[in-house]
Symmetry: C4
Subunit: 224 residues, 4 copies
């Protein structure tokens, strides 16, 4: 009878990942929702409101790219904690570092929305934006690689699944590096590229259940 | 003894809906609470503050309509996940798309509050607002229809219940379409209509337990 | 063996109170944290910053009163859901109405901070503020009374406990009414009174475990 | 068979710490994410955007110090509730007081970012900032000491662990006091010191599993 274990407990050794997830979810959700605060038409737009709304396309684009990127980071974070057996002290600190960058993203997003189309400033804003995205994406990979290295991953996770997640999280980094350089010459290309990377993370085109979505506990269960 | 299953696990196959719900709840809660930031009297209102407060009625109306709409969307989202057995990759992505629109709503709400009463701008603002509401409401229905189509719904959910939820989520779309067109001529009618649709979703007038509120697990349970 | 019930399920009949609580917690937490955004010194305060900081006392007072009030409302909400066996459709809607008022509170708080000390405007701001607090407090009591009336309360809750919570939630209403009238003549008295009511709810002076804190499941439990 | 207890219940006596944690997590997460709203370049920065971005270093520094401090407070709060068997009425109130200070932090952070480098104002801003940090840190220690004093700590927690956490939470107070005084003469030293204290709390340099991270339930558990 001693095998009847409290169901929540298996995840509680070392550090309760529940509260780590709750706090992280909170930061991701707030950062993604604060993005809208930076969209706004200027005061006296009354007469030509339709035009003002249309002219805000850089803000919509910035909103879209940042929403997709934070959404992708949340999905990645989700996949990582899904495989997690427990967290240790260093993992919790690395996670804080990731959240530091994620909750910083609204600032470069705002710069990017404000200065796109403005010649030299555009170049600076897009590069600054790209570096921030690269940082977030790097920290996500570091978090995952650390979890694997420190044996925090559930023992029943298949090696292929672990490698698959590593493969999914890696190419974005090279992509961001290339795009940051490209953005120095053609900022708009970089922006489209940033969106493409976020969508690459979000849309699982090869196999719906591969990549970010660990298909654990898929074994048939009897239900009443 | 192997039938003693961890109680949380039935919902965990495919994708943990728990964290999906937590993140969605966060975005809904933040979007609904940010609405108040756009209500404000202008600087020098000191002498006639009472009047300034009364003159803000468009802001209160916008706050009310958007609060009711996001609240209704949250209730609908709740009903959908309540019927969910598990989530798959596409569901999670569709959900992100819904959240993209929901967290965008404070912007059209602000426009609507700022430009109501301003002739031609009013028409633009109300139409833009209506399209945003239509989009949110469409994505909610798409999310639900996808869940049914992809067999993500709990097998023990009765077919009538599933159809009832589909029926509850559908009429709003036609309503929004009609109101968006009507709003081009009579913006105020559209606004009242938007509020009515939100209240239609929120207030379950026919049967308190029908509609958004699945009455599952109502079977009598012995308690200690 | 059929008595081994999933532990979370007892609270899940009718409507999952878990997600209702999560969403409500989110709105309470965001509303309470947004209050700080309205505290700020004006641009050119450099030379006399210390004085500017001191001169902001109305903002601190407003922050304190609203924080205490929202905190008290959260405690009250907590006590109510603590006694809840399940939620029904009307309860969820009444809860939304309460959240509508709670997330509105940052606006009257800002007015109050901006116009205190400004003669006639002060009177308007304090009265508007008081009416908002009264509304929040009334809805909290309505929510609780509805829960009792609709038999949503856990059957094992003692009648005295239910009456005690009703008694704790009621006097604030009369208090607010008196203070709103008093505030028309002496605004500062009203403000001190609002703070006193919030502290009355927060500080359980008679008996630490009475009032908002149902001492359920206090019976000794064997632990391993 | 009566030993099969609902797994969540052991934490539910007195007061459900689950909702206390959820609300606290929400406030911590929002306060930490709101910090970014105060970073911004002024309107006409177009021509010299790169320089404007670089010139914002006080904002980044303030963001970093406050993020680290709130992050450290969250870790400390986590460690405290991790050891908690239950909460009582006074604990919940003390916790509200801590949240009052934590959600106030974005204001001194903003002042600090705005006035650093501005001679006498700098001194005021840094001192005000330091006092706020001291207050937050004191309340965290008070919360923990109260929990120990009121026997809210889990009975199976080892005495050394309890003392270790007390030791971890204490030195920051003396540090803040010294730095506040030092900051009257050399503000920049104080700022570096504030960051150092936050990192001291965050980085567990002696022993990864000591300090903030209770290693409870580390006993080997059989898994299927």
């Amino acid at each position: 009878m001693t095998t009847v274990e409290p169901p929540h407990e298996p995840r509680r050794r070392g550090f309760r990942t529940g509260r780590l997830e709750a706090f992280s979810d909170g930061v991701f959700a707030i950062a993604i929702t604060l993005l809208v605060l930076d969209i706004g038409v200027s005061g006296g737009a009354g007469r030509h409101l339709l035009r003002s709304i249309v002219d805000l396309w850089p803000s919509y684009l910035a909103y879209l790219v940042s929403f997709a990127t934070i959404g992708a980071a949340w999905l990645g974070h989700n996949a990582i904690t899904e495989y997690l057996d427990r967290a240790d002290a260093a993992f919790v600190r690395l996670n804080l570092l990731l959240l530091l960058v994620v909750s910083f993203l609204p600032f470069p997003t705002r710069l990017f929305a404000d200065y796109i189309g403005e010649d030299s400033a555009e170049r600076v804003a897009v590069t600054f934006y790209g570096i921030s995205l690269l940082l977030a994406s790097t920290l996500l990979l570091v978090l995952w690689r650390y979890a694997v290295w420190a044996h925090l991953v559930r023992p029943d996770a298949a090696d292929e699944e672990i490698q698959l997640l590593t493969q999914r999280l890696s190419p974005g980094l090279a992509g961001y590096l290339v795009l940051i350089v490209a953005g120095l010459f053609l900022p708009i290309i970089a922006v489209i590229g940033y969106l493409a990377i976020a969508l690459y993370y979000i849309i699982p085109f090869r196999n719906l259940h591969a990549g970010f979505l660990p298909s654990r506990r898929r074994s048939p269960q009897p239900r009443g």
